[in-house]
């Protein structure tokens, strides 16, 4: 993980790197690049946040790491494997080592909470039902929802759904868990609960976590390192302490929630005077 100097992308031992992006560029069409030359290195066992405004390409980075999208340039490796070179079977084998929590949980609405968490186990293992039951209850207990095992997803609050999705994401004891906006739309209590769970599960299970979010305050409390993305580029990075002390324009605007700054308040337009003169 990069240390004090944000320009340095650090770990010296490559085996210690869980996820690495080197010069990654991507666009949904050729005229609109979403990411341009992203370099990122996420060490094993660390909790790293990717932050930025809405539509800056944060979720695209997660989809690239998970192999749902392929970069137009650059290299993405997960546990030393080049994701772009994997065929479908290889990609699925890699994904079995990855858990992902989607923005609103993405729980299967036709299955109960219990069956949602059991889903990856039933699909990928031949474990007997009794063992699956015990494992599911352990996972649900870890997120505090053992008592909600028989509820349907429609009966859960937003925070509970996020915690069930978290239990499902760690069902197969992954080496990497990716979180897409885990704090979006949560009340302060649920937000704190989910934040603490992410940190505790990361440490207790020894997994690597990547959190995509724009919640700066919660992130500063729990993460080890932060990358700031704007207009498809990494504009700043550092530890929470460095971010708090930073005088960099984008970081300050983000931390202070200032409406104007490096990210302008106004969408690009003609000068106001010129606009009114034309109307007159």
């Amino acid at each position: 993980m990069p240390a004090a100097n944000p320009a340095v992308v650090a770990p010296t031992c490559p085996t210690e790197i869980a996820v690495e992006l080197a010069g990654v560029s991507f666009g949904y069409d050729r005229n609109r690049p979403v990411l341009a030359g992203i370099d990122m290195s996420i060490p094993r066992g660390k909790l790293v946040a990717i932050m930025g405004g809405s539509g800056c390409g944060k979720t695209t980075i997660l989809r690239l790491i998970g192999g749902q999208l392929r970069p137009q340039q650059g290299r993405i490796s997960v546990a030393g494997q080049d994701v772009a070179t994997l065929d479908r079977d290889g990609l699925f084998a890699m994904r079995r080592k990855i858990g992902m929590l989607f923005q609103f949980g993405a729980l299967f609405t036709d299955l109960s909470v219990f069956e949602n968490v059991a889903f990856p186990m039933r699909e990928h293992t031949k474990l007997p039902d009794e063992l699956i039951r015990d494992l599911v209850l352990m996972k649900l207990n870890a997120v505090g929802l053992r008592g909600a095992a028989q509820l349907r997803p429609s009966e859960l609050s937003g925070g509970m759904a996020r915690r069930v999705a978290l239990a499902r994401a760690i069902a197969l004891d992954p080496m990497l868990v990716m979180y897409d906006e885990p704090f979006a739309g949560l009340d302060p209590i649920s937000l704190g609960v989910v934040g603490q769970l992410i940190r505790k599960l990361n440490d207790a299970l020894g997994i690597t976590s990547v959190v995509v979010t724009h919640d700066i305050y919660e992130s500063l409390k729990i993460v080890d390192y932060i990358y700031f993305v704007s207009e498809g580029r990494i504009v700043a990075q550092g530890t929470p302490q460095e971010v708090r002390a930073s005088s960099e324009g984008f970081v300050r605007q983000f931390v202070d929630g200032a409406p104007d700054g490096p990210v302008p308040f106004h969408y690009p337009a003609r000068p106001l005077v010129e606009e009114f003169a034309r109307a007159g």
Partner: protein, 260 residues
């Protein structure tokens, strides 16, 4: 400008047709997955088949009763009202059973399949499945596709059966045609191979068409409320037109030698 719009629309349609062809192939490739997940396929047969029973049975009954009234009126003019059973049975088994059941199936089950898959896409359930290394084509699409193929011929058969029963109620019980000639003429005139089997073949083809259109539209719906709504509408429209067009083609091949 107009030419450009026509060109763009044509290219877009051809592209979509290409997508549909590749998607159909992928669904067929995943056919064994539906058999391996038999429990899921049975569940889909329940959702698209059993839950469509009410609309199919009630519609069949009324179509049969109306057919009997109209048929009796025409046949009486030619003094052939004893042939009412034949008229109703052939109309239902050959055409109305598969076609009307197919149209109802598209409206009831096809739209539901599209909306369900489209909403799963909108709420990222399909993406979640992919990220869990589970192929949505095998887990979501294949069981629904085969559930539809199995349900459709059974529903068409039940539609025809209820239609004949409705015609019996009107023709024999209400109007007073002799029950023996109603059933006897029907038995003598309806051929198992040419009428019933061809009707079943039609309903299987309609089942494949409706199920394929429904899963395709759902899977490729834009992940928005409007996208799901548009996809559901497209399913009903495309399925209905496909059924009518396929019915014509199949009828030409099946009954051309019989002077029909």
């Amino acid at each position: 400008m107009a030419l450009r719009r026509v060109g763009r629309a044509t290219i877009s349609s051809v592209e979509r047709l290409g997508f549909a062809a590749r998607f159909s192939l992928a669904v067929v490739v995943h056919a064994p997955a539906a058999l391996r997940r038999l429990r899921l396929t049975l569940r889909e047969i329940y959702f698209s088949g059993v839950l469509s029973l009410v609309i199919i049975l009630v519609s069949g009954l009324f179509v049969g009763m109306v057919l009997a009234l109209q048929g009796y009126d025409v046949l009486t003019r030619y003094g052939a009202n004893e042939s009412l059973g034949v008229l109703v049975a052939l109309s239902l088994v050959r055409e109305l059973g598969p076609v009307v059941a197919g149209l109802l199936f598209a409206s009831r089950a096809g739209s539901a399949i599209t909306a369900e898959i489209g909403l799963m896409k909108t709420t990222e359930q399909l993406s979640a499945m992919e990220m869990m290394a589970v192929d949505p084509l095998a887990r979501v699409v294949a069981p629904r596709f085969f559930g539809g193929i199995v349900s459709m011929p059974l529903l068409a058969a039940l539609f025809s059966t209820m239609g004949i029963f409705g015609a019996y109620l009107v023709g024999v019980r209400l109007i007073g045609i002799d029950a023996g000639s109603f059933w006897g003429n029907m038995q003598a005139a309806v051929d198992f191979r040419y009428d019933i089997v061809n009707g079943i073949i039609k309903s299987v083809v309609f089942g494949i068409a409706v199920s394929l259109i429904a899963v395709f539209e759902g899977y490729h719906a834009r992940p928005t409320a409007e996208g799901v709504s548009t996809a559901t509408t497209r399913t009903v429209v495309a399925s209905s037109l496909s059924i009518l067009a396929l019915d014509f083609v199949l009828t030409v091949f099946m009954f051309r030698g019989l002077g029909v």
